[in-house]
Symmetry: C2
Subunit: 201 residues, 2 copies
Amino acid sequence: MRLHSAPRSGNSYKVRLLLGLLGTSCEVVDYDTKGGETHAPGFLESVNPDGKVPVLELGDGTMLPESGAILYYLAEGTPYLPEEKLERAQVLRWMLFEQYSLLLNLSRPRLWRMWGVEITAQRRAELEQLFEQGYRALGVMERYLGGREFFVGDHPTVADVALYVYPRLCAEGGYELEGFPAVGAWLERIATLPGYVPPPG
Amino acid sequence: MRLHSAPRSGNSYKVRLLLGLLGTSCEVVDYDTKGGETHAPGFLESVNPDGKVPVLELGDGTMLPESGAILYYLAEGTPYLPEEKLERAQVLRWMLFEQYSLLLNLSRPRLWRMWGVEITAQRRAELEQLFEQGYRALGVMERYLGGREFFVGDHPTVADVALYVYPRLCAEGGYELEGFPAVGAWLERIATLPGYVPPPG
Protein backbone atom coordinates (compact mmCIF):
# COMPACT_ATOMS: atom_id res chain seq x y z
CA MET A 1 0.00 0.00 0.00
CA ARG A 2 1.39 3.40 -1.03
CA LEU A 3 0.01 6.90 -0.45
CA HIS A 4 0.55 9.49 -3.18
CA SER A 5 0.59 12.66 -1.15
CA ALA A 6 1.79 16.26 -0.79
CA PRO A 7 3.53 17.52 2.35
CA ARG A 8 1.28 20.56 2.98
CA SER A 9 -1.95 19.25 1.43
CA GLY A 10 -4.77 19.15 3.98
CA ASN A 11 -6.56 16.35 2.14
CA SER A 12 -3.37 14.25 2.14
CA TYR A 13 -2.93 14.95 5.85
CA LYS A 14 -6.40 13.51 6.56
CA VAL A 15 -5.18 10.13 5.33
CA ARG A 16 -1.89 10.36 7.24
CA LEU A 17 -3.87 11.25 10.38
CA LEU A 18 -6.14 8.21 10.01
CA LEU A 19 -3.15 5.94 9.33
CA GLY A 20 -1.63 7.21 12.60
CA LEU A 21 -4.86 6.71 14.56
CA LEU A 22 -5.22 3.18 13.18
CA GLY A 23 -1.53 2.42 13.70
CA THR A 24 -1.23 1.38 10.05
CA SER A 25 2.05 1.94 8.23
CA CYS A 26 2.13 2.96 4.60
CA GLU A 27 4.79 4.14 2.15
CA VAL A 28 4.30 7.83 1.34
CA VAL A 29 5.32 9.32 -2.03
CA ASP A 30 5.38 13.13 -1.95
CA TYR A 31 4.70 15.42 -4.91
CA ASP A 32 5.35 19.11 -5.46
CA THR A 33 1.79 20.24 -6.29
CA LYS A 34 2.73 23.93 -6.66
CA GLY A 35 5.43 22.88 -9.16
CA GLY A 36 2.77 21.05 -11.20
CA GLU A 37 3.95 17.47 -10.60
CA THR A 38 0.38 16.21 -10.17
CA HIS A 39 -0.60 17.67 -13.53
CA ALA A 40 2.30 16.09 -15.42
CA PRO A 41 1.21 13.58 -18.12
CA GLY A 42 2.71 10.61 -16.24
CA PHE A 43 0.75 11.37 -13.09
CA LEU A 44 -2.51 11.96 -14.99
CA GLU A 45 -2.14 8.71 -16.91
CA SER A 46 -0.95 6.37 -14.19
CA VAL A 47 -2.08 7.83 -10.85
CA ASN A 48 -5.09 10.18 -11.05
CA PRO A 49 -6.65 11.66 -14.22
CA ASP A 50 -8.05 14.46 -12.02
CA GLY A 51 -4.53 15.71 -11.19
CA LYS A 52 -4.99 15.64 -7.44
CA VAL A 53 -3.56 13.99 -4.35
CA PRO A 54 -4.10 12.06 -2.13
CA VAL A 55 -4.36 8.79 -4.04
CA LEU A 56 -4.09 5.41 -2.30
CA GLU A 57 -2.31 2.78 -4.39
CA LEU A 58 -3.35 -0.70 -3.37
CA GLY A 59 -1.25 -3.85 -3.54
CA ASP A 60 -2.69 -4.86 -6.91
CA GLY A 61 -1.96 -1.44 -8.43
CA THR A 62 -5.53 -0.12 -8.12
CA MET A 63 -5.56 3.64 -7.63
CA LEU A 64 -8.15 5.11 -5.24
CA PRO A 65 -8.35 8.93 -5.39
CA GLU A 66 -10.40 11.31 -3.18
CA SER A 67 -9.51 11.63 0.48
CA GLY A 68 -13.05 10.77 1.61
CA ALA A 69 -13.12 7.53 -0.37
CA ILE A 70 -9.69 6.59 1.00
CA LEU A 71 -10.74 7.31 4.59
CA TYR A 72 -13.88 5.24 4.16
CA TYR A 73 -11.93 2.36 2.62
CA LEU A 74 -9.24 2.33 5.31
CA ALA A 75 -11.77 2.66 8.14
CA GLU A 76 -14.04 -0.25 7.09
CA GLY A 77 -13.99 -2.84 9.85
CA THR A 78 -12.40 -0.47 12.39
CA PRO A 79 -14.05 1.67 15.12
CA TYR A 80 -13.54 4.71 12.86
CA LEU A 81 -16.48 3.62 10.66
CA PRO A 82 -19.74 2.64 12.41
CA GLU A 83 -21.48 -0.51 11.21
CA GLU A 84 -25.03 0.78 11.55
CA LYS A 85 -26.54 1.97 8.26
CA LEU A 86 -27.84 5.37 9.41
CA GLU A 87 -24.65 6.17 11.34
CA ARG A 88 -22.59 5.36 8.23
CA ALA A 89 -24.82 7.72 6.23
CA GLN A 90 -24.31 10.45 8.85
CA VAL A 91 -20.54 9.95 8.57
CA LEU A 92 -20.85 10.51 4.82
CA ARG A 93 -23.09 13.51 5.38
CA TRP A 94 -20.34 15.27 7.35
CA MET A 95 -17.60 14.21 4.94
CA LEU A 96 -19.61 15.70 2.07
CA PHE A 97 -20.36 18.86 4.08
CA GLU A 98 -16.62 19.21 4.60
CA GLN A 99 -15.81 18.94 0.90
CA TYR A 100 -18.64 21.12 -0.34
CA SER A 101 -19.39 23.76 2.33
CA LEU A 102 -16.22 24.01 4.40
CA LEU A 103 -12.96 23.09 2.68
CA LEU A 104 -12.61 25.72 -0.06
CA ASN A 105 -13.68 28.61 2.17
CA LEU A 106 -11.12 27.75 4.82
CA SER A 107 -8.29 26.50 2.61
CA ARG A 108 -8.09 29.15 -0.09
CA PRO A 109 -7.18 32.12 2.15
CA ARG A 110 -4.45 29.94 3.70
CA LEU A 111 -3.19 28.85 0.28
CA TRP A 112 -3.00 32.43 -1.00
CA ARG A 113 -0.99 33.50 2.05
CA MET A 114 1.28 30.43 1.80
CA TRP A 115 1.97 31.06 -1.88
CA GLY A 116 2.24 34.85 -1.49
CA VAL A 117 -0.47 35.45 -4.09
CA GLU A 118 -1.09 39.12 -4.93
CA ILE A 119 -4.45 40.26 -3.52
CA THR A 120 -6.05 42.05 -6.47
CA ALA A 121 -9.45 43.77 -6.20
CA GLN A 122 -11.09 40.61 -7.57
CA ARG A 123 -9.31 38.39 -5.05
CA ARG A 124 -10.27 40.78 -2.25
CA ALA A 125 -13.94 40.44 -3.24
CA GLU A 126 -13.53 36.67 -3.42
CA LEU A 127 -11.90 36.60 0.03
CA GLU A 128 -14.89 38.44 1.50
CA GLN A 129 -17.22 35.79 0.12
CA LEU A 130 -14.96 32.96 1.32
CA PHE A 131 -14.81 34.35 4.88
CA GLU A 132 -18.57 34.90 4.97
CA GLN A 133 -19.30 31.33 3.86
CA GLY A 134 -16.45 29.87 5.91
CA TYR A 135 -17.67 31.46 9.15
CA ARG A 136 -21.20 30.28 8.28
CA ALA A 137 -19.92 26.67 7.90
CA LEU A 138 -17.97 26.91 11.17
CA GLY A 139 -21.24 28.10 12.76
CA VAL A 140 -23.00 24.98 11.48
CA MET A 141 -20.30 22.82 13.13
CA GLU A 142 -20.43 24.88 16.35
CA ARG A 143 -24.21 24.57 16.79
CA TYR A 144 -24.23 20.88 15.86
CA LEU A 145 -21.41 19.98 18.25
CA GLY A 146 -23.11 21.72 21.19
CA GLY A 147 -22.60 19.21 23.98
CA ARG A 148 -21.46 16.42 21.61
CA GLU A 149 -17.94 15.04 21.83
CA PHE A 150 -17.71 13.80 18.23
CA PHE A 151 -19.73 14.28 15.04
CA VAL A 152 -21.34 10.83 14.79
CA GLY A 153 -22.12 8.67 17.83
CA ASP A 154 -19.93 8.92 20.92
CA HIS A 155 -16.65 7.78 19.38
CA PRO A 156 -14.34 9.45 16.85
CA THR A 157 -15.04 8.42 13.24
CA VAL A 158 -13.66 9.33 9.82
CA ALA A 159 -16.16 12.22 9.87
CA ASP A 160 -14.05 13.80 12.63
CA VAL A 161 -10.85 12.97 10.75
CA ALA A 162 -12.14 14.62 7.56
CA LEU A 163 -13.51 17.70 9.35
CA TYR A 164 -10.44 18.30 11.52
CA VAL A 165 -7.69 19.65 9.32
CA TYR A 166 -9.03 22.84 7.74
CA PRO A 167 -10.54 24.32 10.94
CA ARG A 168 -7.29 23.37 12.68
CA LEU A 169 -5.23 25.35 10.14
CA CYS A 170 -7.68 28.14 9.31
CA ALA A 171 -5.90 30.73 11.47
CA GLU A 172 -3.05 30.53 8.91
CA GLY A 173 -5.49 32.09 6.44
CA GLY A 174 -6.66 34.81 8.85
CA TYR A 175 -9.64 33.13 10.51
CA GLU A 176 -10.33 33.63 14.22
CA LEU A 177 -11.88 30.79 16.18
CA GLU A 178 -12.67 32.73 19.38
CA GLY A 179 -16.40 32.68 18.60
CA PHE A 180 -16.47 28.88 18.21
CA PRO A 181 -15.72 27.34 21.62
CA ALA A 182 -17.31 23.94 20.85
CA VAL A 183 -15.21 23.65 17.68
CA GLY A 184 -12.12 24.67 19.66
CA ALA A 185 -12.75 22.05 22.36
CA TRP A 186 -13.39 19.38 19.72
CA LEU A 187 -10.09 20.27 17.94
CA GLU A 188 -8.27 19.79 21.26
CA ARG A 189 -10.09 16.48 21.85
CA ILE A 190 -8.93 15.11 18.47
CA ALA A 191 -5.32 16.09 19.24
CA THR A 192 -5.34 13.86 22.35
CA LEU A 193 -6.38 10.67 20.50
CA PRO A 194 -3.84 7.81 20.64
CA GLY A 195 -1.77 7.78 17.45
CA TYR A 196 -2.54 11.44 16.66
CA VAL A 197 -0.28 12.96 13.99
CA PRO A 198 0.14 16.77 13.91
CA PRO A 199 -0.92 18.66 10.76
CA PRO A 200 1.45 20.32 8.29
CA GLY A 201 2.30 23.61 10.02
CA MET B 1 -40.05 9.00 4.69
CA ARG B 2 -40.19 12.56 3.34
CA LEU B 3 -37.83 14.36 0.94
CA HIS B 4 -37.20 18.06 1.53
CA SER B 5 -36.45 19.21 -1.98
CA ALA B 6 -36.47 22.04 -4.53
CA PRO B 7 -38.05 21.67 -7.98
CA ARG B 8 -35.03 22.83 -10.03
CA SER B 9 -32.23 21.73 -7.68
CA GLY B 10 -29.89 19.24 -9.33
CA ASN B 11 -28.89 17.69 -6.01
CA SER B 12 -32.58 17.17 -5.11
CA TYR B 13 -33.17 15.63 -8.54
CA LYS B 14 -30.45 13.02 -7.88
CA VAL B 15 -32.53 11.64 -5.02
CA ARG B 16 -35.76 11.76 -7.04
CA LEU B 17 -33.95 9.90 -9.86
CA LEU B 18 -32.76 7.15 -7.52
CA LEU B 19 -36.23 6.84 -5.96
CA GLY B 20 -37.61 6.32 -9.49
CA LEU B 21 -34.94 3.76 -10.41
CA LEU B 22 -35.59 1.85 -7.17
CA GLY B 23 -39.37 2.14 -7.54
CA THR B 24 -39.59 3.65 -4.04
CA SER B 25 -42.28 6.20 -3.28
CA CYS B 26 -41.64 9.14 -0.98
CA GLU B 27 -43.49 12.30 -0.02
CA VAL B 28 -41.77 15.36 -1.51
CA VAL B 29 -41.88 18.79 0.19
CA ASP B 30 -40.71 21.57 -2.13
CA TYR B 31 -39.02 24.80 -1.06
CA ASP B 32 -38.38 28.07 -2.88
CA THR B 33 -34.58 28.25 -2.50
CA LYS B 34 -34.25 31.51 -4.48
CA GLY B 35 -36.84 33.06 -2.18
CA GLY B 36 -34.71 32.07 0.84
CA GLU B 37 -37.04 29.46 2.33
CA THR B 38 -34.13 27.12 3.13
CA HIS B 39 -32.36 29.88 5.07
CA ALA B 40 -35.40 30.76 7.19
CA PRO B 41 -34.88 30.15 10.95
CA GLY B 42 -37.46 27.34 11.05
CA PHE B 43 -35.70 25.39 8.30
CA LEU B 44 -32.24 25.91 9.83
CA GLU B 45 -33.42 24.75 13.25
CA SER B 46 -35.59 21.81 12.33
CA VAL B 47 -34.43 20.54 8.92
CA ASN B 48 -30.82 21.43 8.03
CA PRO B 49 -28.53 23.91 9.84
CA ASP B 50 -26.55 24.21 6.56
CA GLY B 51 -29.57 25.78 4.79
CA LYS B 52 -29.54 23.34 1.88
CA VAL B 53 -31.77 20.76 0.24
CA PRO B 54 -32.13 17.84 -0.32
CA VAL B 55 -32.72 16.47 3.17
CA LEU B 56 -34.24 13.04 3.75
CA GLU B 57 -36.53 12.90 6.78
CA LEU B 58 -36.79 9.38 8.15
CA GLY B 59 -39.77 7.84 9.91
CA ASP B 60 -38.36 8.63 13.36
CA GLY B 61 -37.79 12.29 12.46
CA THR B 62 -34.05 11.94 11.84
CA MET B 63 -32.84 14.42 9.22
CA LEU B 64 -30.21 13.26 6.72
CA PRO B 65 -28.77 16.11 4.60
CA GLU B 66 -26.30 15.89 1.65
CA SER B 67 -27.44 14.24 -1.56
CA GLY B 68 -24.51 11.80 -1.57
CA ALA B 69 -25.27 10.56 1.94
CA ILE B 70 -28.96 10.16 1.04
CA LEU B 71 -28.12 8.23 -2.16
CA TYR B 72 -25.79 5.94 -0.23
CA TYR B 73 -28.38 5.36 2.50
CA LEU B 74 -31.22 4.60 0.06
CA ALA B 75 -29.05 2.36 -2.11
CA GLU B 76 -27.73 0.10 0.69
CA GLY B 77 -28.90 -3.44 0.02
CA THR B 78 -29.92 -2.68 -3.60
CA PRO B 79 -27.97 -3.25 -6.85
CA TYR B 80 -27.24 0.52 -6.91
CA LEU B 81 -24.58 0.06 -4.19
CA PRO B 82 -22.03 -2.75 -4.63
CA GLU B 83 -21.26 -4.93 -1.63
CA GLU B 84 -17.55 -5.32 -2.27
CA LYS B 85 -15.38 -2.97 -0.19
CA LEU B 86 -13.20 -1.56 -2.99
CA GLU B 87 -16.15 -1.08 -5.34
CA ARG B 88 -18.00 0.81 -2.60
CA ALA B 89 -14.94 3.03 -2.16
CA GLN B 90 -14.82 3.66 -5.93
CA VAL B 91 -18.50 4.66 -5.82
CA LEU B 92 -17.62 7.21 -3.13
CA ARG B 93 -14.62 8.36 -5.12
CA TRP B 94 -16.84 9.38 -8.02
CA MET B 95 -19.50 10.91 -5.77
CA LEU B 96 -16.82 13.07 -4.15
CA PHE B 97 -15.31 13.96 -7.54
CA GLU B 98 -18.78 15.13 -8.58
CA GLN B 99 -19.22 17.37 -5.54
CA TYR B 100 -15.72 18.81 -5.55
CA SER B 101 -14.46 18.93 -9.14
CA LEU B 102 -17.59 18.90 -11.30
CA LEU B 103 -20.77 20.31 -9.73
CA LEU B 104 -19.96 23.98 -9.14
CA ASN B 105 -18.26 24.44 -12.51
CA LEU B 106 -21.25 23.07 -14.40
CA SER B 107 -24.07 24.35 -12.20
CA ARG B 108 -23.12 27.98 -11.63
CA PRO B 109 -23.25 29.14 -15.29
CA ARG B 110 -26.70 27.49 -15.52
CA LEU B 111 -27.88 29.12 -12.29
CA TRP B 112 -26.74 32.57 -13.40
CA ARG B 113 -28.64 32.20 -16.69
CA MET B 114 -31.72 30.82 -14.93
CA TRP B 115 -31.76 33.67 -12.43
CA GLY B 116 -30.85 36.33 -15.03
CA VAL B 117 -27.83 37.45 -12.99
CA GLU B 118 -25.98 40.46 -14.44
CA ILE B 119 -22.61 39.41 -15.88
CA THR B 120 -20.20 41.95 -14.40
CA ALA B 121 -16.47 41.96 -15.24
CA GLN B 122 -15.81 39.91 -12.11
CA ARG B 123 -18.47 37.35 -13.01
CA ARG B 124 -17.10 37.16 -16.55
CA ALA B 125 -13.65 36.31 -15.17
CA GLU B 126 -15.22 33.76 -12.84
CA LEU B 127 -17.15 32.20 -15.73
CA GLU B 128 -13.90 31.72 -17.67
CA GLN B 129 -12.42 29.82 -14.73
CA LEU B 130 -15.58 27.76 -14.28
CA PHE B 131 -15.65 26.72 -17.94
CA GLU B 132 -11.95 25.87 -17.94
CA GLN B 133 -12.28 23.66 -14.86
CA GLY B 134 -15.67 22.28 -15.95
CA TYR B 135 -14.35 21.15 -19.34
CA ARG B 136 -11.33 19.64 -17.56
CA ALA B 137 -13.64 17.63 -15.26
CA LEU B 138 -15.76 16.49 -18.22
CA GLY B 139 -12.50 15.37 -19.85
CA VAL B 140 -11.69 13.25 -16.78
CA MET B 141 -15.09 11.55 -17.12
CA GLU B 142 -14.66 11.12 -20.90
CA ARG B 143 -11.27 9.42 -20.65
CA TYR B 144 -12.33 7.24 -17.72
CA LEU B 145 -15.52 6.06 -19.40
CA GLY B 146 -13.69 5.07 -22.59
CA GLY B 147 -15.26 1.72 -23.37
CA ARG B 148 -16.98 1.42 -19.97
CA GLU B 149 -20.76 1.41 -19.72
CA PHE B 150 -20.98 2.70 -16.14
CA PHE B 151 -18.58 4.29 -13.64
CA VAL B 152 -18.15 1.38 -11.22
CA GLY B 153 -18.44 -2.26 -12.28
CA ASP B 154 -20.75 -3.21 -15.13
CA HIS B 155 -24.05 -2.09 -13.58
CA PRO B 156 -25.40 1.38 -12.81
CA THR B 157 -24.68 2.54 -9.24
CA VAL B 158 -25.31 5.67 -7.22
CA ALA B 159 -22.03 6.99 -8.68
CA ASP B 160 -23.82 7.20 -12.06
CA VAL B 161 -26.90 8.72 -10.42
CA ALA B 162 -24.79 11.40 -8.70
CA LEU B 163 -22.71 12.18 -11.81
CA TYR B 164 -25.65 12.32 -14.24
CA VAL B 165 -27.57 15.51 -13.58
CA TYR B 166 -25.09 18.37 -14.06
CA PRO B 167 -23.55 17.09 -17.33
CA ARG B 168 -27.12 16.41 -18.52
CA LEU B 169 -28.13 20.03 -17.87
CA CYS B 170 -24.83 21.80 -18.59
CA ALA B 171 -25.92 23.00 -22.05
CA GLU B 172 -28.38 25.29 -20.21
CA GLY B 173 -25.33 27.12 -18.88
CA GLY B 174 -23.61 27.32 -22.29
CA TYR B 175 -21.52 24.14 -22.30
CA GLU B 176 -21.12 22.10 -25.48
CA LEU B 177 -20.78 18.33 -25.19
CA GLU B 178 -19.77 17.62 -28.80
CA GLY B 179 -16.19 16.84 -27.75
CA PHE B 180 -17.30 14.25 -25.18
CA PRO B 181 -18.87 11.33 -27.07
CA ALA B 182 -18.41 8.76 -24.28
CA VAL B 183 -20.12 11.10 -21.80
CA GLY B 184 -22.92 11.68 -24.33
CA ALA B 185 -23.46 7.94 -24.85
CA TRP B 186 -23.43 7.33 -21.09
CA LEU B 187 -26.04 10.09 -20.56
CA GLU B 188 -28.28 8.37 -23.12
CA ARG B 189 -27.69 5.00 -21.43
CA ILE B 190 -28.86 6.34 -18.05
CA ALA B 191 -32.01 7.77 -19.65
CA THR B 192 -33.05 4.28 -20.80
CA LEU B 193 -32.91 2.68 -17.33
CA PRO B 194 -36.21 1.30 -16.03
CA GLY B 195 -37.83 3.82 -13.69
CA TYR B 196 -35.84 6.75 -15.13
CA VAL B 197 -37.19 10.18 -14.14
CA PRO B 198 -36.35 13.18 -16.40
CA PRO B 199 -34.40 16.10 -14.88
CA PRO B 200 -35.84 19.54 -14.14
CA GLY B 201 -35.78 21.25 -17.56
